[in-house]
Structure formats: structure tokens, C-alpha cells
């Protein structure tokens, strides 16, 4: 199984990225996206930190083992789009 790294982007610039050094083994990028959404939901629901005031401006930047950027998953994707 490939390993995906979920870096947490909380503001622009190198200071604004919490780097994931461990990664998680998941079957494919679809599974990685679902994992990112599940972690984001749990984080929004339970986590208070001094650094992030608004979780909805955050995103997971998913990379592979070579450090190549694969996908960005905004925390706002945890909320379904409103149907007009």
C-alpha cells in the first residue's frame, strides 16, 4: 500500500505548514482524500488550539513518499455544498 503524507496548511508560507513526518498507508488517493476529510471533521469537532482560530481556512496538502503534491483537501469540504 502506498504511503500518503497529510500536511496541515493553516496559513500561507513555510511557517504555516504543519509537516507530517510519519504518513499513513492507504490503498489509493481516493482513500487518502476520505481519510483527510475524516481527520478534518474530528479536528473541527474536538480541537482547540492557540494557532488556529478558524479550522475552515485550513487544508490538508497530501503528498506521496517522494514529496510530490497530489491533492489539496480544504477543511470546508467536510460540509456539503448547499443546495439552492
Amino acid at each position: 500500500m502506498p504511503r500518503y503524507y497529510f500536511h496541515l496548511r493553516h496559513r500561507p508560507g513555510p511557517e504555516g505548514l504543519a509537516v507530517d513526518e510519519d504518513g499513513d498507508d492507504l490503498p489509493d488517493l481516493d482513500a487518502a482524500r476520505l481519510h483527510a476529510l475524516a481527520v478534518a471533521r474530528d479536528t473541527i469537532a474536538r480541537t482547540r488550539t492557540d494557532i488556529v482560530r478558524d479550522w475552515f481556512v485550513c487544508a490538508f496538502e497530501i503528498t506521496d513518499e517522494a514529496g510530490r503534491h497530489l491533492l489539496t483537501v480544504p477543511f470546508s469540504d467536510t460540509v456539503p455544498d448547499e443546495v439552492p
Binding site: H10, T47, I51
Partner: protein, 237 residues
């Protein structure tokens, strides 16, 4: 095997025992090295041995469907297995395993129970330690309900350092996340915040406490209550 002499013991409970109480336990104490992740007590299985940590520390954790969370920490100030056996239970729902490798003095359950049955003062001292464990657990509930992840991290690092020699703690982010009951990415954020305040320095698998006093200030009311009770009840401060 030679018996440990009380003067060379590092476990704080054993150190404060009157000579006669120490003599009840000493013939049954077996030194044993511990390694990371070693299980000392398995949930819902009869407790066969108790462990006085000499160095390193053990975590008490609860396992739920959403993962495992730490509910207690036992190092050289304590005794792993004290609560169930002293309170009349033969087992516990919680896992007890090594989070910081070191050494423990191991004692057989029957020998331990015979010693506390024989000496009221030994039982009283160890029950006071159980009281401190209750306070520590209550404090964890308070801190988890009240404070930000940074405060909780500061508290936990102080508790770890209390059970370690020196400023350097061997801890991975994965372990920290378990301790704090947080996602790994949130834990990384909290570590970065404390680094930003120059309280700690984090390298892969290792955290160095740079400014203990400032770390205590950052932990606010989260740290100190069980520690003060320990000093008062156990060490008579």
C-alpha cells in the same frame, strides 16, 4: 539475586517507606528492564504482578472504537497495579504499558497482598498514592474539558520530565497524539506553537525542554495539583 538496598532505590514510594515496611517488600522485589510498548497489565485479566518503576514510565490507556487515549501516567513516583489490588479488585479494564523504557521492580501479587495485610502503615501510604492517581485522572478530565491543546501538551511534557532525568524526552508525535487524544496533525501544530514560544525544541522522536519555568506558566492551572498533593501526602512536604 541480591536484594535492592533502600538507599539505592529511585522509586519515590519505596524510598519514603519506614525500614520495617521496606523490609516486608524487599525480599520479593525483582529488577527487570522494560522496553517501549511492553504490556505490564492486560485489560480484564487477573493482575499477577505489580511494578514499581525505577526509571521510565508507563501509561494507563482506555481503548474505544475511535482509538486509544491515555488516562494516567505512572513513573518512579508510583506503583503500576496499585489501584485495582489495593481497592479490592483483581483486574482492571485499562491497559498499562511502557511509554518510556527503563527499569521496574516487579513484585508478585500474593507477596504484595501479604505485605499490605501485615502492615497498616504500608497500606495507608499506598492508598494515599491511589488517592493521588484519582486526583491525576480528575485533573486530566478538567484539563481536557477546559484547555487548548498547547496547554495540555505543556502539562503532559512537564509530567514526563518529572519522571525522567534531564531535559530530553524521547517521544514521537504518534505517542504524543495518543497522550493528548488528538489527531497527529493537531499535535504537530501544538508542538510548533510551544517551539515558537521557545519553550521546547522538537527533533524527530525527541523533545527537549528549554525553559521549564515558562513551560509551567504555559501549562497554567493544568499542572501542579496532583504533584502538590503527592509532596504533601507522600513526602510530607
Amino acid at each position: 539475586m541480591s536484594q535492592p538496598s533502600q538507599a539505592e532505590i529511585r522509586n519515590r514510594l519505596l524510598r519514603v517507606l519506614p525500614k520495617c515496611d521496606f523490609a516486608l517488600l524487599a525480599p520479593h522485589l525483582q529488577a527487570m528492564p522494560t522496553e517501549l510498548r511492553q504490556v505490564l497489565i492486560t485489560p480484564q485479566e487477573p493482575v499477577r504482578y505489580l511494578y514499581f518503576p525505577e526509571s521510565g514510565f508507563a501509561s494507563i490507556t482506555t481503548q474505544g472504537s475511535s482509538g486509544r487515549v491515555e488516562i494516567g501516567l505512572v513513573g518512579r513516583e508510583g506503583l503500576v497495579g496499585a489501584s485495582p489490588l489495593l481497592l479490592g479488585a483483581d483486574r482492571t479494564p485499562f491497559a498499562h504499558f511502557i511509554q518510556g523504557a527503563g527499569e521496574v521492580l516487579c513484585i508478585d501479587r500474593a507477596a504484595f497482598c501479604a505485605a499490605v495485610d501485615e502492615s497498616a502503615s504500608l497500606r495507608r501510604l499506598l492508598l494515599r498514592y491511589v488517592q493521588i492517581q484519582l486526583i491525576q485522572t480528575a485533573q486530566t478530565a478538567f484539563v481536557n474539558a477546559t484547555y487548548s491543546l498547547e496547554v495540555r501538551l505543556a502539562r503532559w511534557l512537564l509530567m514526563c520530565q518529572d519522571r525522567t532525568d534531564g531535559d530530553e524526552l524521547a517521544i514521537t508525535h504518534e505517542f504524543l497524539s495518543l497522550m493528548l487524544g488528538a489527531q497527529r496533525s493537531s499535535t504537530t501544530l501544538a508542538v510548533q506553537a510551544l517551539e515558537g514560544y521557545r519553550l521546547i525544541r522538537a527533533r524527530r522522536g525527541r523533545i527537549t525542554v528549554l525553559d521549564r519555568e515558562a513551560l509551567e506558566a504555559a501549562a497554567d492551572d493544568g499542572y501542579g495539583v496532583p504533584e502538590a498533593e503527592y509532596a504533601r501526602l507522600i513526602e510530607g512536604a
